[in-house]
């Protein structure tokens, strides 16, 4: 399995100015802040429900995604990764969590951008490898449990398939007790 996407949602009561992400992402490029080779920033704020502001890397996209009117940080893995499915899933989860943590620290967003540690969404951006079917669900559910048990604790969260058959494979994950994304990163 390849091309995992992970989205962390911004706390629902917050309405940050997405324009602030433009200087932030340019600064990340200047400072090579992320592990991927960063290329450019694209402004899609004019598209309702779109990727907002997009940081383009060679291996991934980071966007302030507004799909289904829910703002969040979406990590999209573009290139292939070595390793097991679990390792690739964890890699995407960690990359998204790290970007969220970095964004929260940026002065442009001080206090206006806080991610919920109680909810996230997984998807696989490849319909051939992972159609949005029961079969893919059966294949990936144990992997998702293995990951989320270590984040939220076994039995403390719910997984639910999302989207239609024509969508990419999607699963939403919700937990009663939020986890600190930074703790996950440290672990």
């Amino acid at each position: 399995m390849q091309h995992f996407r992970v989205k962390f949602f911004v706390q629902p009561d917050l309405r940050p100015d997405l324009g602030a992400a433009i200087p932030v992402f340019h600064r990340w490029i200047q400072e090579s802040r992320l592990e991927e080779m960063l290329i450019d920033v694209a402004d899609y704020r004019h598209v309702p429900g779109g990727p907002g502001v997009l940081l383009v890397a060679h291996d991934a996209f980071y966007s302030l995604d507004q799909a289904e009117d829910r703002l969040g940080l979406l990590y999209t893995r573009r290139t292939e990764l070595e390793g097991s499915t679990q390792e690739k899933l964890r890699h995407a989860f960690a990359a998204a969590a790290r970007a969220c943590a970095e964004l929260e620290k940026e002065p442009e967003f001080a206090g206006h951008l806080v991610f919920s540690g109680a909810e996230c969404e997984f998807s696989v951006n490849d319909r051939l490898l992972a159609p949005n079917t029961e079969e893919t669900w059966n294949l990936l559910r144990p992997e998702l449990h293995a990951l989320l048990d270590s984040v939220w604790g076994a039995g403390s969260y719910r997984l639910a398939r999302a989207g239609e058959a024509r969508d990419v494979f999607r699963v939403s994950a919700q937990c009663e007790t939020p986890a600190n994304l930074n703790l996950f990163l440290a672990g």
Partner: protein, 757 residues
Amino acid sequence: MKASNPLWKDRLQHQIPPDLGSEIDIFEHEVQLRKQGKIDEKVFAETRLRRGAYGQRYDNGHRHDGVTERTLTYPATEATKGPNTLWDAPGMQRIKIPYGGLDAVQLERLAEVAEEYSDGIAHITTRQDFQLHFVHIEDTPPLMRRLAAVGITTREACGNSVRNVTACPVAGVCRTQTFDVTPYAKALTYFLLGHPDCQDFGRKFKIAFSGCRDEACGLVRMHDLGAVAVTREHNGTTERGFELYVGGGLGTVPQQARLFSEFLPEAELPPIAQAIARVFARLGEKKNRNTARIKFLVSKLGLDEFKRLVMEERGSLPHDDRWTAFLADVPNYQEEPLKPPSLLQLGPEAPEGFAEWRRTNVYEQRQTGYVTITVALPLGDITSTQLRQLANIARKYVKETIRTTVEQNIVLRWVSEGDLVDLFNDLKAAHLAQPGAGTILDITACPGTDTCKLGISSSRGLAAELRERLAATAYEMDEAVRGLHIKVSGCFNSCGQHHACDLGFYGVSRNKGGYTVPHFQVLLGGQWQNNAGSYGLAIGAVPSKRIPETVERITSRYLEGKSNGESFHAWTRRIGKAACKAMIEDLTSIPSHDENPDFYIDWADARKYTIGDIGVGECAGEVVSPIDFQLAACERKAFEAQLALEKGEVEVAARTAYESMLEGAQALVGLRETAPSDPDEVVAGFRKHFFDTQLFYDPFAGPKFAQYFLKAHERRNQTISADRAHQLIEEAQLFIEASHSCHTRMSAQAAKAQPVS
């Protein structure tokens, strides 16, 4: 690139027509060969362009990050997909949509490929195509296969080929059409696609169809080949045919197409197009891209000689059944509605926003009880999710009668009028019910510096800013202003069609105190109507950050000054170019960097603006060099040439345009030696220091702008037509722009050579 790439061929083998499938197999093989270095990079570049796979900004591996120029270290460090184009760098994929026609399955497939290979955004172009950005070259064969499986091709979407054939989006349902041009546009598309006579052009070839002469939709007069539907009575029957235009184009030197035939019988359309293609391939310029469009060939030969050659070619063409085979189906060509006609019964409580949306986005069809609605897309962008939602809506309300438009929108045709409120609600739920289609809010913009390698200023950034500001005042806007059209291009190449609108802008840059400042040239008085009936002329360059104020100023003056019912086009013509220029004179000034650093950053960006790797030397400050004054004087002179032409003083206009170039060259030569005053000496100095050394060469256009000046000098004593004088003025403006750029590059090199203390 995608892990699933090798799997798609087998998966789709029964869904792709064999000829299309084998073409894509060949392309995939070529991708592999180039990766192994077994095909020349130039050959591969043209190959991929003909498959619609285009380069994108920063694909040479260099990008200025606002502080310094960085090397982008892609994994495949040595491999290239063309000269100076790195293998792993993201690229753009253009997807041809003949006459803009689509169905719901195709929308869904476009959504999938945009999501999986691009960034989840599909962009509609000013030629009714789709474009996807940030696509890896090795993802393009599976992407093409998935499109081919639903009848979409990317073949000849770019490169020196026949580009997407465009047509009015309301063809067939239009109230003013002579007849429906759709079956003709479709037939000509597939007749010319891959045709052996269209494989050896020196440049691209663009074709458009329009159902009538007076409306805007087809824009035939700015095309290489334009066909307007006409009929004539002959022996008691009505015959269909086309008013055929040839040799139009925008770009650096815009030209209106010339009338090739007042009535070309419908059966003659394919063979005449083929004959034109053969003459273009045989006699068109091949070496110098800058003069390779067919407009230059028509100008060089003269229309009469060009026609003679085409008719001679037509006479010698071997017969092809396809010329007329499609005509048998034309009488039966008719889209069908999903639902019976109905009239809108509005209850007391229309949904919020419905009235405004209905006013601007709903077009009453010639068929009673049906309407065509426009889905207005900001900057032509739509998400994958929205494409899927739109596919659902198209299935629910119409028989998937969908078209893209050259205004970068999508229309749904054959909506039963009684469904309008429900349809509006469904569109609204998908964020697709934005009002303002065809108004000042509906701004057209090319990709500009966002993704285009040639972009100078941020056309999309500006368009988004203008849109937001204008939307805030849309409800109190006067109708006369609301109906204006704005178009923005990131550079002189005119992909945003800035010549064919009321307020046009194209990106340029200026130098101030050692910094480069993003600007836009302002063009007023172009016409969108009458199939792009006349082009606007430049009235001055304004800093990008002052363009919103410029729009506000010009539209307010128009409202104050227009007489009853006077159009913007007529008003600009009446007050004249001098008054237009005076109107924005104060807005052309640039505050110093210390005073307002924001002017030195482009829209939707945070980096210090550059047009290259420009450093700031010790001279940075408030010093204005003499050459800046001299070039400003040249601009004024080029403008005086416009005024003279406007008064019908053709000779004066031509002479003044030439002099403006001469003075620009003189100013540059003065940087290297004591500036001569004798014109021949100026030319000699210019050749020595700037032409032979290639210092003046534009990074992309090469010697083109310098040649404008050298040619004008050679021909300065010849008599000249009004058309040529017009062209000379355009060339003078571009030469002066190039002089600014040359000076900027020289300053940058000088600054780099000095240690920064």
